[in-house]
Symmetry: C2
Subunit: 378 residues, 2 copies
């Protein structure tokens, strides 16, 4: 299953247990030198964090951690494992945001599906916890439709947009991944106990934090980078100006994922952050799942025609035909000379145009001249 | 007032009377050779349009045209006149759209204000004739606010967004210019008689079409390029997928004016065209007048800070202070060692952070330890 040795795996699990998620220095060291070496330096007192983490290290118990994970059916996944999502490597070179960053040391995972497999085609749908019905409707519908197209829906299990996205995906029997800021054995928010349990069964619960870890502010900030990195693109459905969803969007930007935003009323607070994202940060405006798919699917796999209304007969008219049509009276028939003068065209041109217009059923020809057919007003 | 001779002026007025607005070939010829030369060729039968326009030319009467204009207080303005808007020169090199294009031969104008003066700072606000209340509210409010900032509001006197924009400007005693597809002595739509008369008095009515000309489809298409060219930028408030407002936006694009769109519900038909404009054609999303002004005003004259919520005390905390705050219990006080372990930081760091947090009124220090002050939850 993996080329990672038991010692390295245990060292990673230990570091996951004591180092804050997304600590950019430690994560970079682990990526370069391996966890065993970093852990040894931490324990020896040589590491700059040795003092800070001494107490946590003293209290950490690998067997207890494994037992806690076993109780909820959790597994620990590290780089090199088959299940490890290759896309997370993009975090290695990403800028540090809010002092968080780097490739996770390891991830705790619950759920039947393999993580890498689930994330092969994945879209993140995120947004405000205090979203409107407009926002949750769109999130649920978009999630359902990208699910139908074979995508996994990644989100954060929060109130509002997140839960609607998870539910929209589950409703279509799809795979949804909830990336948590707390341990995979905790439920946050508490009101989402049933939803989170269901995702743990039918989807995937993923966390960079140790078992039992509380969802703190910096863990949310670190978590957001995983949502962005695990998805081909991030859709922000609704976000107030200081919504955490905008932090996820910043991560997506930083690692060159597609950032998308759903527009809404200019009078709606929960759309203000999305509008700012589109306005000032170049996020792609999306109004429906097909537009999301076009943006995130491999080139050419989902392409949309530019949206237009169906072409009507009169759209196919030439400029001159149109000019003649405009010169034909609505009811009282007019003769050729009159139409030609009004149109500003020669009688020859007008006759040819009238022929087309009569055949197109736009103009009626009578004994004394031409007039418009009913319902052919522009 | 002008270096344009009486002969050239009369020739231009005649051509305005017989050539369709925005005829790209004739307009280019007039720009290059002058109207007298083009008119002479038309009359001689040498011009490719001689036959088409013979009947119109035969019926055109310069004195009658002047009399019709005098009846509504209209004046004829040509390039070289003080009142001629310099910005229209940009149409010389613009692409031809729908077989329309070019610098107008002349313009019929009604209203007290000088045209060039009125258009020195001007924004076009356009949109769907069948707009929603959302659209007309935004159009009126945006128009009022750009008026307060000293801008002229340009639009097309149509139902829906156009009329709301004109009214919003008039309500603030501003100058609004209605560019018409028909003659300046005609009222279209008829229901806007009072509005159009009012604009003719307090604002400006402008048309490239002859006196008495009916508003035909191609005249609307030609008219739209004038709305775009007369404004520093065009705001599309609401537009269905085949709205004429999108044609105006295409013109604005073609002559390097700022194209702006107001977002709305993804479920609203009249917003679909605007969303497509932002999505696929790079129009700037705008949600309020200040954003419009920032985009169209001379560089640096109107600049907006990125919209953010006000900074709160806790936003100023360092990562470590935040980590300590997250480790302080809500009610039951904890001691230094406990907080240090939960935070994963050294006691020295924790003491320094607690000091800041207590002074910031986020944490309370008691005899047995520290706990959160009320209302300091994240």
């Amino acid at each position: 299953m993996s080329g990672v040795g038991a010692g390295e795996r245990a060292a990673r699990m230990t570091l996951t247990g004591v180092v804050e998620p997304g600590h950019p220095v430690v994560l970079a060291e682990v990526a370069r030198h391996g966890a065993e070496s970093v852990l040894a330096r931490l324990r020896s007192g040589e590491h700059e964090l040795s003092a800070s983490l001494a107490s946590r290290l003293a209290h950490f118990d690998l067997d207890r951690e494994r037992a806690l994970a076993a109780r909820v059916g959790g597994r620990y996944v590290v780089p090199g494992d088959d299940e490890w999502p290759a896309a997370l490597a993009d975090l290695a070179d990403a800028p540090v945001l809010h002092q968080r960053g780097g490739v996770p040391i390891g991830l705790w995972v619950r759920g039947r599906t393999g993580l890498a497999e689930a994330l092969r085609s994945a879209v993140a749908i995120v947004g405000s916890r205090s979203c409107t019905v407009y926002g949750s409707d769109i999130a649920a519908e978009m999630a359902a439709e990208v699910t139908d197209a074979g995508f996994t829906v990644v989100s954060g299990a929060a109130f509002g947009v997140d839960q609607a996205a998870h539910r929209g995906c589950l409703a279509r029997a799809g795979t949804t991944a909830a990336v948590l800021a707390c341990g995979i054995d905790r439920v946050y928010p508490l009101a989402h106990r049933a939803l989170i349990e269901r995702i743990g069964q039918d989807g995937l619960l993923v966390s960079e934090a140790a078992l039992g870890a509380a969802p703190t502010k910096i863990r949310f900030l670190a978590r957001n980078r995983l949502i962005a990195a695990m998805s081909a693109g991030t859709v922000v459905v609704e976000a107030a100006l200081r919504s955490g969803a905008l932090n996820t969007a910043s991560w997506a930007e930083g690692i060159s994922r597609v950032v998308m935003g759903v527009p809404g009323s200019v009078f709606s607070g929960p759309s203000a952050g999305v509008h700012e994202l589109i306005r000032t940060r170049g996020a792609l405006l999306v109004t429906r799942a097909a537009e999301v798919l076009e943006a995130v699917a491999p080139m050419g796999q989902w392409t949309l025609p530019i949206r237009r209304e169906p072409t009507r007969t009169r759209d196919l008219l030439t400029d001159e035909q149109r000019q003649v049509l405009d010169a034909v009276p609505a009811t009282r028939p007019a003769g050729l000379a009159s139409i030609a003068q009004v149109a500003g065209l020669t009688p020859t041109t007008v006759v040819a145009a009238l022929d087309v217009l009569v055949r197109a059923d736009l103009v009626a020809a009578g004994a004394v001249g031409w007039h418009l057919r009913r319902a052919s007003s522009s």
